[in-house]
Symmetry: C2
Subunit: 373 residues, 2 copies
């Protein structure tokens, strides 16, 4: 069979105050065109359909229109899960009715072990979940990290494997490195939070991931992030956006690019050059880098005349001192919990976090993480 | 055919801080039992399924379970509309998928003219709407009051009437009086806001209304409020709660009572009697009226030992003066806009509201009204 793998739609996301719904609709239309042109048998959406637990009514209307286009108009089966940005109960309110029409939307952990079979492939739909949800499901309080949980999850899914079928996993989490790396190094931590080791996912013929917005964030032949179809922050300016076209037998992976307009564009130069007559960009979201050394009065307002959709302004030659730069680089390398511990120690006259305080901080960081990316 | 008419579920409603979801679930189970025992062909829910535009995740899960029980387990068609408490886009996100399974949930005005036919009856599902939505739909800015709109709505629906069918309307608004009354009297105003004249609804064989929580709020043989199935405020303590069982041909209307436990119960007496050993009520929501004349220190905390679910405390013999009582009675009779105008005049040294200010106030009151009852 052949399916399209997309993820991280983040409908309703605002970019520095700009409403992206029209851009999201335009990219969706390209994506729908890909699905139809390539005659796929299904579309996989690996979580974060909405940008927030309580999306605006406009974003709700948009998702309704997109799902209706694919599922009701184009008659395509959909395989979707909730991500950390979605409210599982709100998104999943109608899942029993959706499923009757081939829109398989899984929002709770316990539904992940009941595969959906389409043609030659069994799809296991694993929504974003908390460690506590996994501990409750397995009645096992020893499941204290994501890799222990995923070993159990994969084992339980394997018990459902039909031997004559291909097996695909759709999931929404950090994946990185390998299990061996996990034991010996700290690379497996992404932003200080543990990631699923890709080795654990080896039993699947394909793993369609959501969560990270960069399709190149992970290099593994059959475990892929689709990334977000639209650039959702300044840091995504140079990322390739698109969808994966997956053929199951023989296995073949094809990257289908998506082209956004308005795009995110960086302009670098002197204030005089960037605001010269005729200079400017009214269409795109702009990242402006000024090469001037002095201060410029009222700089944002004057730039906006030429670049109405400015996202960020930076100064190429307003330098930090060498010790400042070194210290900043050190700080940027620290995992969030270590950073917090350092801050606590420095601000509390050398006192270390107690184990209890460290546990509270870890829980709080995990809660924040649920809302990130 | 035979159907059950219910309305105003207000899932997620809290009563003086008490979570009512468990009570709402218990009443729903009685209602489901009525539908099954009476072998109805459909269940009508006339708006305000949720208590608020953004219900809690728990309330979302509850509505999902209730609709799934009736529609997916019991295989009953459902005819439902959004009320003023519901967010039409949020509630209606999945309506296209629901409809494929016989759950007809209409949340936008323009869908009201496309009847759903079940057995011998055409059902017209008219959700709560704003005058502006109606003006947009009819491209007619002269539609400035609800009765002008409803005349047009009914006319357009009549154009869809199949002559060999019965015709039912499901709607969510204030209905009162008659068109004649509307021209000569002010009775047609409920809380200062205009009501639909029941005469306008004469073309229908039955009108299943939601909005008012008292099934006796309107006396008309074929235009009925079902009321809320649960008592949702202290003022509903003595209302009969239940559902209407409607047979279409021959037309027959039967009231099916619902019995709630915990109930709302009023206790009146002296503090000494109500807190005597053995006195009290741990089960029900309690309205306490004390007959004592003096002050009682720490009265609420001491009453709660015996009546943990107190909703209100009143004093039978703490009298207001006669002039105060008269003034209060006058105030209570005023429509909200008049009350505001009086307040403005008294607080602004006799200055009257300008026409512009009056229009703003009217718009604000209408916005508030959308959230009321």
């Amino acid at each position: 069979m052949r399916f399209l793998h997309t993820a991280d739609w983040h409908l309703g996301k605002r970019l520095n105050g700009f409403d992206l719904l029209a851009d999201q609709r335009a990219i969706f239309e390209q994506l729908e065109h890909q699905a139809l042109e390539k005659q796929v048998d299904a579309v996989v959406i690996a979580g974060d359909l909405f940008d927030r637990a309580i999306p605006s009514e406009a974003a709700v209307n948009e998702l309704k229109a997109m799902l209706a286009a694919l599922n009701l108009t184009d008659h395509l089966p959909i395989l979707a899960i909730s991500g950390n940005h979605d409210s599982a109960p709100r998104l999943g309110m109608a899942s029993d009715w959706y499923a009757a029409n081939g829109l398989h939307l899984v929002t709770s952990f316990d539904q992940a072990f009941d595969p959906v079979t389409i043609k030659d492939t069994q799809f296991f739909l694993l929504p974003y979940f908390t460690l506590q949800a996994a501990r409750n499901y397995f009645h096992d309080d020893s499941l204290t990290d994501i890799n222990k949980v995923m070993a159990r999850v994969v084992e339980r899914m394997q018990a459902q494997f039909a031997p004559d079928k291909q097996h695909a996993l759709v999931a929404h989490f950090f994946a990185a490195g390998s299990a061996r790396t996990a034991e010996s190094e700290t690379l497996i931590e992404v932003g200080g939070l543990s990631a699923v080791a890709v080795d654990l996912l080896a039993p699947f013929d394909y793993v369609a991931l959501g969560h990270l917005h960069n399709r190149n964030a992970l290099q593994a032949p059959r475990v892929k992030y689709a990334g977000s179809p639209l650039k959702l922050s300044a840091s995504e300016r140079q990322m390739e956006k698109g969808s994966w076209l997956v053929d199951t037998a023989p296995f073949k992976l094809t990257w289908l690019p998506l082209h956004q307009s308005p795009d995110l564009v960086k302009y670098s130069g002197s204030f005089a050059d960037l605001t010269a007559p005729g200079a400017g960009d009214a269409t795109n979201y702009c990242l402006i880098e000024l090469t001037d050394r002095g201060e410029i009065p009222d700089v944002m307002a004057r730039l906006r005349v030429h670049y109405p959709k400015i996202l960020t302004l930076s100064w190429a030659n307003h330098q930090t001192t060498a010790p400042q730069a070194k210290r900043l680089a050190q700080i940027k390398r620290q995992a969030p919990l270590d950073l917090l511990a350092t801050f606590f120690k420095e601000s509390q006259g050398g006192q270390e976090l107690t184990d209890q305080q460290r546990a509270w901080a870890q829980a709080a960081l995990e809660a924040v993480e649920r809302k990130d990316d």
